[in-house]
């Protein structure tokens, strides 16, 4: 078994062991779930160490027949982009599992089973190189998430769970339509049934058809991201999901949409992705998302909802970067996806911590938490600053590179996105101020316990990671440089010939912290 298959199926194997445990052994179940998550992380090590950065193609490739008559294969492999997202998934799984130790007391076994199933689905999405295999994992993610929200969620969980399921399903059936069209094109052009990406890349399709397929795929991916008009499921799902669910949703699930753009929409439909109208529409929606999400955040009374809307804004940056269609934009977008996972994951964990203690998410219920919970306040500060894009922390690296890419494509795009950064810093700092600084105004907050060791351990991976990306982002850019170049080359053939070789994108954030600071403050 190759390391990739091992990484993909370890959670499933752990799931079977979990199911064999008796439901009454609660501690054993919790322990095993955490061990599984760590095992999942360990299986990433061979991938990280064995990954060859100088190779832009897919690595750890594995292929087996699944349904030969339809040309559906078990075909997996990763490039730098998928590698980063898979590692993010594994880390998030560890964090999410550990964070559920106290929070979840009901139906433990099913809960952890759902988490593990979710993990299989997410890893599979990032590892699949066969479009149907991808679709299978994509839909597989839906079911456990639906149960996580519906069974262990907040007061309006039913509504949120169904909305989440139906929205995503509606998107994915349209995506299926796009997939089937590609398949049928391949059938007419080459006479063989296949869904593998490499083969579909060879298609030559008329522009109008590319357009149709693009929009079909777009709706599927955009709902998942979520982009502006399709985002309405997100605040509900995020707000009602249990903490671990929100963390996973924010950190990984949303990235499935952006990943879909990078892996499928752009390379498979280069002409459509290059088309002026399409780019303008998508970028327009991204910019609206950035500003709208940020403005809505300013008005939120609900802590968790605020964090949820901040995702709309941050993911807007990611799609903006992707559709800048240049190396900086796309690389920045990938890094920003990683960063968003880390920082928003932390913010949701923060909400989870206070929610466990006070069982309310109203911002006005809190205030002055720093007096009682200094550790908490420190961690929260890291999360806020990382999310707001402070230099030396991870958020800055991504946002800056995206803005650079957007500027290169069209300076107005960058100009319109910058206010998003500013408002982003504003609502986060204001949130911090209202909840954590000042005097304790609500007597109920007088006896709150600070973070326990377990809770600190939950935050530790994310904090360390945030710092490492912020201080030394070079390795991350190196990992994705080739794959990104491949995408750009595919969408804009000859892009690299017109420009001086290697703009050294990895150095960009170091070179210009002052410019960005000017923009952000």
């Amino acid at each position: 078994m190759s390391p990739l298959s091992l990484a993909l199926w370890t959670p499933l194997a752990c799931l079977f062991v979990l199911l064999a445990l008796p439901s009454s052994q609660k501690t054993a179940i919790k322990l095993w779930a955490n061990i599984s998550a760590v095992l999942g992380l360990l299986t990433m090590l061979p991938l990280i160490t064995g990954y060859d950065r100088s190779n832009g193609g897919f690595q750890f490739v594995e292929r087996a027949e699944w349904i030969p008559s339809l040309g559906i294969q078990y075909y997996i492999g990763i490039d730098g982009i998928s590698l980063l997202l898979m590692v993010l998934t594994a880390v998030t799984a560890v964090v999410a599992t550990l964070s559920s130790w106290e929070a979840i007391q009901d139906r433990l076994k099913q809960y952890y089973a759902m988490l593990l199933l979710l993990q299989v689905g997410m890893l599979g999405v990032f590892a699949s190189l066969d479009f149907i295999l991808f679709y299978v994992f994509w839909e597989l993610v839906l079911v456990p998430m639906y149960f996580l929200i519906g069974v262990w969620g907040g007061p309006r969980k039913l509504y949120a769970a169904i909305k989440f399921f139906l929205y995503t399903l509606a998107g994915s059936v349209l995506m299926l339509l796009g997939i089937l069209t590609l398949y049928s094109q391949h059938w007419t052009q080459f006479g063989t049934p296949t869904f593998e990406i490499d083969a579909l890349l060879r298609l030559t399709m008329p522009f109008w058809m590319q357009q149709w397929v693009f929009w079909a795929l777009f709706i599927g991916f955009a709902i998942k991201v979520p982009m502006f008009p399709f985002h309405t499921w997100l605040p509900d799902a995020h707000t009602e999901a249990p903490t671990a669910g929100s963390v996973i949703l924010a950190a990984v699930l949303l990235k499935m949409g952006t990943y879909g753009f990078l892996r499928f929409s752009l390379p498979l439909l280069p002409q459509a992705s290059m088309d002026r109208t399409i780019v303008q529409v998508v970028v327009g929606l991204s910019l609206i998302g950035i500003l709208y999400g940020a403005l809505v955040c300013l008005m939120q009374q609900d802590w968790k909802r605020l964090v949820a809307y901040s995702s709309v804004s941050h993911l807007g940056f990611c799609t903006l970067g992707i559709f800048s269609l240049n190396p900086n934009g796309i690389a920045g977008s990938v890094i920003q996806q990683l960063n968003h996972g880390i920082s928003t994951g932390m913010l949701f964990l923060i909400v989870g911590v206070v929610y466990e203690r006070r069982h309310t998410r109203e911002i006005s219920e809190y205030g002055g938490l720093a007096h009682r919970m200094p550790l908490f306040a420190t961690v929260f500060a890291f999360a806020v600053l990382s999310s707001a894009g402070l230099p030396l922390l991870n958020g800055f690296v991504g946002e800056f590179t995206i803005l650079q890419g957007a500027f290169e494509a069209n300076r107005w795009w960058a100009a319109m996105a910058v206010p998003g950064v500013v408002i982003g810093a504003a609502y986060l700092l204001w949130l911090y101020q209202r909840t954590t600084l000042g005097q304790i105004t609500n007597a109920k907050n007088n006896h709150l316990a600070d973070l326990s060791w377990r809770e600190l351990a939950v935050f530790a991976p994310f904090i360390l990671w945030a710092f490492s990306i912020g201080l030394y982002p070079k390795p991350y850019f190196e990992i994705i440089e080739r794959p990104v170049a491949r995408i750009v080359e595919r969408v804009r053939p000859g892009y690299y010939q017109d420009r001086p070789p290697s703009p050294a994108l990895a150095q960009a954030p170091h070179a210009a912290p002052h410019t960005a600071q000017g923009g952000a403050r």
Binding site: I67, L70, V136, L158, L166, L177, L180
Partner: protein, 489 residues
């Protein structure tokens, strides 16, 4: 025509082995009950199962030596074998869930099982019919037995109503079908499907295409009734709701599959020359069937009625494959019907048990918190419902996938779009059951029907395995369907 009577050969008898075994089995069952008396009622279901298994073996044996039988009235090809096996498996699963139900309703009797066997016999004939009169006879054998089954609990008003509606509308539709057959016979001078095809496509034949289309339309009325396709789906919800639950399970799977089998055969062989005339009609019908089924199901509170409408909707998906009018479409319909049979029987098996004595708990809300009491059964129900939605790794997904793939291949873009959107809408009402089972708190009456009896358990396991196999390892079935789909060659 001079009648040259040659006695059928032994291999021709072997080709109708399942029919023979089913008829003999049903008859023996009825005699055995009379001989053994009241005390031995428990043995009836196992006996029926034994006959069904024999017939299943018979179908396999018959399928190993394909060819025509009885003057080309029947033809046993891969297609026929596929549907024979399918309806027989449905029969086995239905008998498994019927035992405890009949005991609970004090209605144990050999007639019930005999009727199931006779009905299956008719469906088996339908699967292999190669001639319009055989189509009629098979349809009637199958239907007459199901009319009685639908009203099996004679003192139950709902049963009465289901039976009378099913009977009247069913016979009405059959009369239309038959009138169409009569005119086809008049125009072409034959009722054999291949010969009709030859006549209609030959350049020497003189006939009015309009008249033939009218015949095809009348036969469509008959078939559409039997498969519950719009605009003739009106009876389905009432009948499936009113009939005893295990009978509804049986009716939504087996007769429907057989009717689709013959529908496809007639339209792919006999009328394949007139495609452009009937295709638009079926297009509208497929679309309307999906929309009506799904949107009506959204508003149901009665779980049987909801599954009834869902059955209409699924007939719509199969209709999409019929409209595609290609070998891929035929194969897709076959695969879809197989996976639908499993997931639907699984769902109905749970409903059969859950409704309790006198079918009291038929509301969706009656299942509140069922997952707390019977986590395993609730999980299985969820599995079937997810398959009905069409979530990957279930049979329902590949069924839909295959159907819509064949539609795209035939350039039916808009029908595909509508179908896909419909399947997203459908998710809502299936999810409702999951919501109620998992997210609501149990009430005093939750699970009042008690533990799940062994027969139902077996049927559940069987259906779950079926859904799993078709969802994860569909290759074998798909390839068999692909190979058998070459009807017109």
């Amino acid at each position: 025509m001079l009648v040259n009577f040659t006695p059928p050969s032994a291999s021709e008898y072997i080709r109708v082995l399942p029919e023979i075994l089913l008829t003999v089995g049903g008859t023996i069952l009825m005699i055995a009950e009379g001989l053994a008396g009241e005390r031995h009622r428990r043995g009836l279901a196992p006996m029926a199962l034994a006959f069904l298994l024999l017939a299943l073996g018979g179908a396999v044996v018959a399928g190993m030596d394909p060819g025509p039988a009885f003057n080309n009235m029947l033809t046993v090809d891969g297609y026929a074998t596929f549907f024979r096996l399918l309806v027989l498996i449905v029969g086995i699963l239905s008998v498994l869930i019927s035992g405890s139900y009949l005991t609970r309703e004090n209605a144990d009797s050999a007639d019930y099982y005999a009727l199931i066997l006779f009905s299956l016999c008719g469906q088996s004939i339908l699967a292999s019919a190669n001639e319009l009169i055989m189509v009629f006879i098979g349809l009637e054998i199958s239907s007459i037995a199901t009319y009685v089954l639908a009203g099996f609990l004679r003192n139950d008003k709902r049963n009465n109503e289901a039976a009378i509606k099913y009977f009247l509308l069913g016979s009405f539709a059959t009369a239309f079908l038959l009138y169409g057959v009569g005119w086809i016979y008049g125009v072409t001078g034959t009722t054999n499907l291949q010969e009709i095809h030859r006549f209609l496509t030959s350049s020497e034949s003189v006939y009015s295409p309009l008249l033939v289309s009218a015949c095809a339309a009348m036969m469509f009325v008959g078939f559409a009734f039997k498969v519950s396709a719009a605009p003739f789906q009106g009876w389905a919800p009432d009948v499936y709701q009113g009939a005893p639950a295990p009978v509804s399970a049986f009716m939504t799977a087996a007769p429907k599959a057989a009717a689709f089998a013959v529908f496809l055969r007639v339209y792919s062989i006999a009328f394949s020359g007139l495609t452009e005339r009937w295709q638009p009609i079926l297009w509208v019908s497929a679309m309307a069937t999906m929309v009506i089924g799904n949107f009506a199901a959204l508003r149901q509170d009665n779980i049987k009625r909801m599954l009834a409408y869902s059955s209409v909707a699924h007939a719509g998906y199969v209709m999409v494959a019929v409209v595609a009018h290609s070998e891929a479409g035929v194969a897709a319909a076959m695969f879809y019907l197989a996976s639908y049979a499993f997931m639907n029987l699984g769902a109905f098996a749970i409903v059969t048990h859950y409704v309790g004595k006198g079918e009291r708990y038929v509301g969706i809300d009656d299942m509140a918190g069922y997952a707390r009491q019977q986590p395993l059964i609730a999980a299985l129900f969820t599995w079937f419902l997810l398959s009905l939605i069409g979530v990957p790794l279930t049979g329902g997904f590949f069924g839909k996938f295959y159907v819509f793939k064949s539609a795209i291949d035939s350039n039916l873009i808009w029908l595909t779009v509508l179908g896909l959107l419909n399947s997203a809408v459908a998710a809502y009402y299936y999810l409702r059951i999951i919501v109620v089972m998992y997210f609501h708190e149990p009430t005093n009456e939750t699970g009042a029907a008690g533990p799940v009896p062994a027969g139902v358990r077996l049927a559940l396991i069987g259906s779950a395995i079926g859904v799993f196999v078709l969802g994860v390892m569909p290759s074998a079935v798909l390839e068999f369907a692909n190979r058998s789909a070459m009807l017109s060659r």
